[in-house]
Symmetry: D3
């Protein structure tokens, strides 16, 4: 079974609502490839390491959350050269979807992480803001859980350690999540104003510690990488169903 | 023994070269206080927790690396209100010094961390750039050390774990350092161009992992907080000598 | 009788439509205060002189047209320190409402000044523009008055001298008003285009003289301070009615 | 006696250091005119009223402090049309010099006002800043005078009333001046830091009242127009001497 | 027969939808003139040469596509002085209409050029974009023509040579046009995406050659001047019908 | 004979003073290539057509005046993909030098065009400005020539037609040149002020016609392409001498 690259790209662009988001990154086809797609690889990062593995898997398209265009030009030298050369040598296309994959209501990182954690699906609502678009989600457990219980469930879901800034209430009913680098002052302030008990993200920087403390908000940091595999797994499942095509997930955790 | 606040502030401003740096943060006296200063407290962060401890220590001035003005106005409500109220209730002044304390050649974070690590003092040279001013330092060991040896020494110096992105050479002679949140693409690229073998900072975000990997640079992350106590200890010692005044360091580690 | 500060603030924010206006100044609660409000003071300017008088009046909240945040940060030193310290020492809250008080259709400066002058209330219409929001009002007398008559009535209403740039028609039926520093070229041009005979503001600068002359528009300048007490009196009356709470107006004219 | 317009303009541009100043206004020849110049008129404002009087005086060039170009384009309609048409009908050139006439060390407004007030000429130093260029002057009386004495002398010099914000010391030795609309926070702050006792300008707006009060600075406002005739009188004298040409000053006070 | 200038201007502004377009150029009356208009001249460019000819024709208004205000101020010297002086000496008004005349559905350059070329009027649709407004048109021939046939018809219509970048299909059914300097990358890309076979403009610069080649688009360049007479002829006809007033077209081709 | 790519690039960067120019385009190595360079191709434009010919010539580096990076990012699709793929498939490097090749005093377009025209080499001086750097040259013939003679010589030198805007003096002694798209208002104005008789560029747009006419300046337009081969021929000769390496010039004229 195979699908034409042009058709795949235009259906992905439409399904992921790629044109709704304004950001520096290019969302969509970043590097063209061969016409017929038989196998799609998925990875968090579009870097040498994952491209090499996708080549080894004989994939025709690599779909990533972090692509190679972030708002500015650069010459094709060094690793930048090698990435593109490897793609071109194998006519492997690179498709990137950044904020639209945070925000998506079906295959997004945030909805799928929260569902995996046991949040009631019907309680899920958009959360956060990037230039006018929500990119996260908030929801409720069907009953309040202990804060440590939530943290343990999260660690189990992510398959790795969670750093908790433990400044919110002991009992957790409502949670919000923006995966990756989503733990900034604005998000914690919005969480506070919306009565969230427990805010989940991937990573944060030092100033957030005291801000969370002074706001009285629990912030759980599960790792940028580990919180951003959810959307790729979900998108893989979605495309697998729709195209009956071969797919593979390439796992390159960074520990960050 | 005591010193007049006005005199202390103007000597600090001059010694730390506060007016040489253009940044959003206000460097210098952020909140006024009582006229005579008998005791000075030092802390990395100017937050409720450290202000409360400085009050308990009966300090007249609190000198911090991270103050309360970062380039924009905000109303005095919630924790922002409490911080200022606590300071004013005890007429405790708040003096903040951000980039000038990264960059300082005598009491700066970077020079003191590198010296503590065993880098040859005469080899130290400015490194990095913030709007035209270098804010870090680079230097050389008197002889090459194993990469793991350097990492162990760093962990011992910092008194805590170091996360190493181990992509540079096994033997380390030249190192560079920008403490805190100083591990960005530009710094790693500069390190590469200047032949640095091992780059030290406090914290980094996920995209740096693959960038360091593709550049072939070792990046050691010792924690934002733990890498930024050096300048405050050094400044405390400097002021202690000059004013024969009581001083205290307030330790509130964040684990970040 | 008393009202909770949080409730007072959120009702004021809503009644005054504080979030409809984009400006540098912070509209709303600028400095927090004690929880229960028994007495509210009103003043044009939130400055040392008025804060001292509000303290003498034992007020719990000071509501002003000109607050202490105008779009940029500043350190708390000198008079800036004293203002905040005085407020905090007495746990007196500071609430500021700038453009929303110019523009308000019930308690605004402009509608109340024009009504006081005898303009027919049913003729009042929004006038002027600040980033897409009208901030003044225009209206009609029920019959035309002599220009000097209008000026005399205005002086009587304001309780002080009026400087008239007497370049419009002798008979005045339609007037427009933007209090304070509202006499710029754009307003005079709009007045001209809308057939206004007499434009009222608080103060103007030199270039307006010849502009008014060349446009053939009468401009009456009644003083920044004296034209901007109207909204505060009206708001005081409104809150007095709604909360049965003690109120006081603090008069500190500047002669400007 | 006559002078060629081209030669006059290029000598004025050079003498007044027109190219040293970056501002919205065009400094130099704003509207061309007839080749030979026999009579020059001087006025504060380049407006219909002064152009008409210059025509009545049969002047060939009108030199003004406030010209007709302030940084943006506008169509030639209404009064804007009439001004240019009147100039062109009489082939009268319009030469404008704005900030360079504030700042000039010989024929500037500020030096000549301060000398007229009795400030010791050898004590005069640049004061104030506009985008990196000083535009005012500061100086000292040979001995301290009473504040009211200075105000009376200023009123006599200007030939009109002076509004005094009387918040500085009773005895005045050092004064600073930026004529016209030169009384802003930055100038008063600089005056305070340089130990000035008495600051002179033309006009100010309401917020300056409390700022001057809180800074403890006396601010004397003598009128925008009346403080800005000095440079034109001085330039007239200078040109009269250099070219033996007929000159006339056109007085159109605005009371502002 | 005559028409009042004010009425003519306001009807033109409305008919041409002048206020719908945001651009640097002033659209509308750029220079005022005598009250009664008996004769209107039309020209592509509002320059000395055309103003002189309009004077010779004794016109009261000159309507142009390219006026004298393009977004910035300039002093009235040299040719800039002469243009305005000539207009004012004869009280001839200057009315300019730039983008609104490209975009107009009845009297616009593009619709009239395309109709002249034989494109089916009912097929015409807006094309191109300038800050959110379409300024060109696209349409279809009733049957496909040979590319050379289209080029010959275009040359005949324009009365001069056409430079063809012959990179599109041999058979042409659909064409698009933005006259003047309308051949940029965005327009060619839009043409490609909309299935256009042949794109017409006035002039292009060198980089377009290879872009057109690589996109496979035929681009026909008929001259900036020659493609922009169409709207003026159509507007002349429209005004002639509506006002029964004398009109004249002033032809000053530039060969560009 | 061969040269290492790294050494070639760093010597070119230094010789061409690539880092002195701030522009959107990337000057220097835009796409990496094989390590050893045996043959260098030169072309005006780095486009599919020239890359294909360089491949046919078996070149290892293609040096162009117009590269593929102009200040913004774009995805690698369509022709953008093909260009890079062709380069990478043959490991051919792409080196681009834009403004530095206009401005260069030895191998620049402008000096070499002017020398070819017979201008006295010792009279050559920098001309024009791009963000603070001159990018053209001006010079003098040893004696005045007729304007038509100069135009004929230019046409002969360029090997193609020259469009002359014939508005300057009949006798030409001093000429200036900015090749390519260098004929804007600022350049013509500078030429006028510096007493130039004849200004040479590659192409201009319609508004320049009347501007040149009103300024009284002759402007000769010899084609963007044809005026920008000079620097590439000169650079080819320079490199041929220095490296004894094979070189080839790839001629793809655009007629523009």
């Amino acid at each position: 079974m195979s699908v034409e690259l042009g058709r795949l790209v235009s259906q992905l662009n439409s399904y992921l609502r790629v044109s709704d988001f304004k950001e520096g990154a290019i969302n969509g086809l970043q590097v063209a490839g061969k016409k017929q797609v038989k196998k799609i690889a998925f990875a968090v990062d579009g870097v040498l390491e994952t491209i090499e593995k996708a080549v080894a898997e004989d994939a025709d398209v690599l779909i990533v959350h972090h692509g190679i265009y972030w708002g500015f030009q650069y010459p094709l030298r060094g690793a930048d050269y090698k990435r593109v050369k490897l793609l071109m040598d194998h006519e492997m296309a690179l498709y990137a979807v950044h904020l639209p994959l945070d925000a998506h209501a079906e295959v997004g990182h945030n909805v799928n992480l929260l569902k995996g954690l046991g949040v009631a699906p019907e309680s899920l609502e958009p959360f956060g803001d990037y230039k006018g678009m929500p990119i996260g989600f908030a929801g409720k457990f069907s009953r309040a859980l202990g804060r440590d219980t939530v943290t343990e469930k999260l660690a189990a879901l992510l398959g790795g350690p969670v750093q908790l800034l433990p400044f919110g209430p002991d009992k957790v009913r409502s949670v919000a999540c923006i995966t990756g680098q989503g733990a900034d002052f604005a998000s914690v302030r919005e969480a506070k104003m919306r009565g969230i008990h427990y805010y989940i993200s991937g990573e944060a920087t030092h100033p957030l510690y005291h801000f969370a403390q002074e706001q009285g908000m629990s912030v759980a940091l599960g790792g940028h990488y580990r919180t951003e595999v959810f959307g790729l797994h979900a998108l893989r499942e979605y495309l697998g169903k729709n195209y009956e095509i071969e797919t593979v997930f390439i796992d390159c955790p960074t520990g960050m």
